[in-house]
C-alpha cells in the first residue's frame, strides 16, 4: 500500500504558488478560492488521474488538504498540525450535520480519545493529542470509486 502511494506521488504534477488559502466540503474550486484568504498560507496544487489536492499550509502551522474530484467538487478534506481547524469553514454546509452528530454521539460509556463521527453519509475523524491534531472529513457518496480511503490523510 505504501509503495502504491509512493508511485502515485511520483507521477503527480506539483505546483508551488504563493496564495492565501482553503475550501468547504461539497463546494467547488470557487469555494476553495473564497476560503483561501482566511488561512493566510501558501497553496500547493497536486493532480493525479482521479483527483486534485489543494494543499494549504496556514500561517498557524496547520496543514489542510482539500480533495477535488474530476468534476470539480471537494469530496474530502484532511488536516494536521498544532490545532483544530475551523470546522465551520471547512465543513461548509455540512457543519450543521456535524454538530448534530456530536450531540447524537453520546454512548453508554464516557470516553476520551480520537473521535469518529458518522451521520447521513458525512464522516468526520479527529485524533492525535494536544499540540498535534490530525483528522479528515468526507462525504461517502461524493468520493470517486477509484479512490482508496487511506489516500485521504
Amino acid at each position: 500500500m505504501k509503495s502504491i502511494l509512493l508511485s502515485a506521488v511520483a507521477t503527480l504534477v506539483m505546483l508551488a504558488i504563493p496564495l492565501p488559502a482553503s475550501a468547504s466540503l461539497g463546494g467547488d474550486i470557487t469555494s476553495v478560492q473564497a476560503d483561501q484568504a482566511r488561512l493566510q498560507g501558501t497553496l500547493q496544487s497536486t493532480k493525479n488521474a482521479s483527483y486534485t489536492i489543494e494543499e494549504v499550509k496556514a500561517a498557524t502551522g496547520l496543514l489542510v488538504r482539500e480533495y477535488l474530484s474530476a468534476n470539480g467538487q471537494v469530496f474530502a478534506v484532511s488536516w494536521h498540525g498544532p490545532t483544530r481547524p475551523n470546522l465551520r469553514q471547512i465543513l461548509g454546509t455540512y457543519f450543521q450535520t456535524y454538530t448534530q452528530a456530536v450531540q447524537a454521539q453520546k454512548g453508554r460509556r464516557i470516553v476520551r480519545g480520537p473521535v469518529v463521527l458518522k451521520q447521513g453519509g458525512l464522516v468526520v475523524e479527529m485524533g492525535g493529542h494536544m499540540g498535534w491534531i490530525i483528522g479528515r472529513a468526507y462525504v461517502s457518496s461524493m468520493v470517486p470509486s477509484t479512490v482508496q480511503m487511506e489516500e485521504i490523510r
Binding site: 464516557i110 470516553v111 480519545g113 473521535v115 494536544m130 499540540g131 498535534w132 490523510r153
Partner: protein, 417 residues
C-alpha cells in the same frame, strides 16, 4: 473483577496477554517487562496514587468512564496555606500538558492572569475530543508531596469571558462534567508548556490564547512562563519527568478498578531509576515517535497516551475495517480476538522494540449490563487512520517513563518502557 464464562474461555484460548512489551505468553500470566511495576509499592513524597475507576461521572449519575486514571490534587489561593481545596476525579493524561479544572468543581479563589493592559487572558485549548475554553488563572498546587507554586492553570466552563466565535467554530466544546468526563485534567506529557514556542511571541501562533477586553476576546501570543504549564516542571525537585505504574490486567478481561502510581522524577530518587527501560526519543515539537504496523510506517505519528481509553490504529492495514462495533463505531468488535505485533522506534535515537497486543470484541466488555461498573478493559481498541495512539491498555503491567523536554533527564524528550 467481573469475568464472564465467555471471556474466561477467550482468555484461555487467546494468546493470553493483552499487551506486552516483550511478546505474547501462552501461560495467561501477567506480561513481564524490563520495568514492570515493582513490589513493594513505591513510597515517598514523589508518589501519587492513581486509580482506574468509573470516575466522577459515575458518581454523578452520568455513566461510567472507561479506561481512565483518576487522582486528586490540592489547589490553593497563591500564597495561602489555608485557602485550599482538594479536588478528586482529576484525569491523568500523558497526551497533554497542564492542569485544567472545571469551574463547577472549583471553590477556592485563584488569581486571574491579565495582559499588560489589565485584560484577562483566556485559552481555547484544542483536544481531539473538542476544545476547552476558559480563563488562565494561577494557583499553588500540591500533588502528592510536590508543590508547584503559582502554576498557570486553565479554568474550564467559567461564566466569563465568553467564548469567541473562532473557538466555537473549531466544532466541539468540552466544558462540563459529562463532556469532559472528569473534574479536571492533569497533563503530564513530554513538553514543558501546553503550546510551547508556537504560541510565544515570534511563534506561528496557532490561536490558542486570547486577551479578553470587554469588547470581546482577540487572539494573542503568550510567553512560555505564562502558558498553562506542565505542573512537574514547577516542582522544586523531581521535576524532569514521571513514571506511570499500573499493574497488569489479565488478557481479555474487565475489572472494576485498578490502583497504581504516578512517580515524579526520573533518576532523582531511589524509587524512580530508569533501570533497564528502553528510551524512545520523541520529536521536540509534537512529542511523537514512529510506529511500524503491518508494513506501514506511521513516521513521527505514534505516541503513548494514558488519556486515550483504547489503542487506536489504522483499520485498513490491520484488516479490522468492518469490525467496528455497531453501537460504538469508535471501537473494534472483532470475532475472534485479533492479535498483532507492532514496532516502536525513537525518532531522535535508533532504539526500537516490538509490542504485541490483542484486540477484543468491545461488546463483550460493555454489552452485558452486569459489567456496567467495570472501568478497566484490557484489549479495547478502535479505528483511526494516519496515526498509532497507544492508549490506556498499553500501560497495563508496564512502567512508562515520560522525560520532559528541556529538563534534566539525559536524552529528553523521550518516553521509555
Amino acid at each position: 473483577m467481573s469475568q464472564s464464562p465467555f471471556r474466561a474461555f477467550m482468555a484461555l484460548l487467546s494468546c493470553a496477554l493483552l499487551l506486552s512489551a516483550v511478546g505474547c505468553s501462552s501461560s495467561g500470566s501477567s506480561p513481564s517487562s524490563p520495568s514492570s511495576p515493582g513490589t513493594p509499592a513505591p513510597t515517598g513524597a514523589n508518589v501519587l496514587a492513581i486509580s482506574v475507576n468509573t470516575g466522577p461521572t459515575e458518581t454523578a449519575g452520568l455513566g461510567p468512564y472507561t479506561n481512565g486514571a483518576f487522582t486528586s490534587v490540592t489547589v490553593c489561593t497563591p500564597g495561602s496555606t489555608t485557602q485550599c481545596q482538594t479536588i478528586g476525579g482529576i484525569l491523568v493524561d500523558s497526551g497533554s500538558e497542564g492542569l485544567r479544572i472545571l469551574s463547577s468543581a472549583l471553590s477556592v479563589t485563584l488569581t486571574q492572569q491579565n495582559d499588560s493592559s489589565g485584560n484577562p487572558i483566556a485559552e481555547c485549548a484544542p483536544f481531539a475530543s473538542g476544545v476547552t475554553w476558559g480563563p488562565v488563572q494561577t494557583g499553588d498546587v500540591e500533588i502528592a508531596g510536590e508543590t508547584a507554586a503559582s502554576l498557570p492553570i486553565q479554568v474550564i466552563g467559567a461564566a466569563s469571558p465568553p467564548m469567541p466565535v473562532a473557538c466555537a467554530d473549531e466544532g466541539s466544546t468540552v466544558d462540563s462534567l459529562d463532556t469532559l468526563g472528569a473534574n479536571g485534567i492533569l497533563g503530564i506529557g513530554v513538553l514543558p508548556y501546553d503550546c510551547n514556542s508556537a504560541c510565544a511571541p515570534g511563534g506561528t501562533n496557532p490561536d490558542w490564547y486570547y486577551t479578553c477586553p470587554s469588547a470581546g476576546c482577540q487572539v494573542t501570543t503568550e510567553a512560555l512562563s505564562a502558558q498553562v504549564t506542565n505542573p512537574i516542571v514547577l516542582f522544586t525537585t523531581d521535576n524532569n519527568g514521571s513514571i506511570i505504574e499500573l499493574p497488569s490486567v489479565p488478557a481479555a478481561t474487565a475489572e472494576v478498578s485498578l490502583n497504581g502510581y504516578l512517580v515524579f522524577g526520573i533518576g532523582t530518587e531511589s524509587n524512580n531509576a530508569l533501570g533497564s527501560a528502553t528510551i524512545y526519543g520523541v520529536d521536540s515539537v509534537y512529542g511523537n515517535f514512529t510506529t511500524i504496523f503491518e508494513d506501514t510506517s506511521f513516521t513521527d505519528s505514534g505516541f503513548l497516551d494514558l488519556g486515550s481509553n483504547a489503542l487506536y490504529f489504522d483499520p485498513v492495514s490491520s484488516g479490522l475495517a468492518g469490525t467496528e462495533c455497531e453501537d460504538a463505531p469508535y471501537w473494534y468488535c472483532p470475532s475472534p480476538n485479533a492479535t498483532f505485533t507492532a514496532e516502536n522506534e525513537g525518532v531522535t535515537n535508533g532504539n526500537s522494540g516490538t509490542v504485541s497486543f490483542t484486540v477484543v470484541d468491545a461488546d463483550s466488555f460493555i454489552d452485558n449490563s452486569e459489567d456496567d461498573n467495570d472501568a478497566v478493559m484490557n484489549g479495547l481498541a478502535g479505528p483511526f487512520t494516519g496515526m498509532f495512539d497507544w492508549g490506556m491498555p498499553f500501560f497495563f503491567g508496564v512502567n512508562v517513563y515520560t522525560a520532559i523536554a528541556g529538563q534534566s533527564a539525559a536524552g529528553a524528550p523521550y518516553v521509555a518502557y
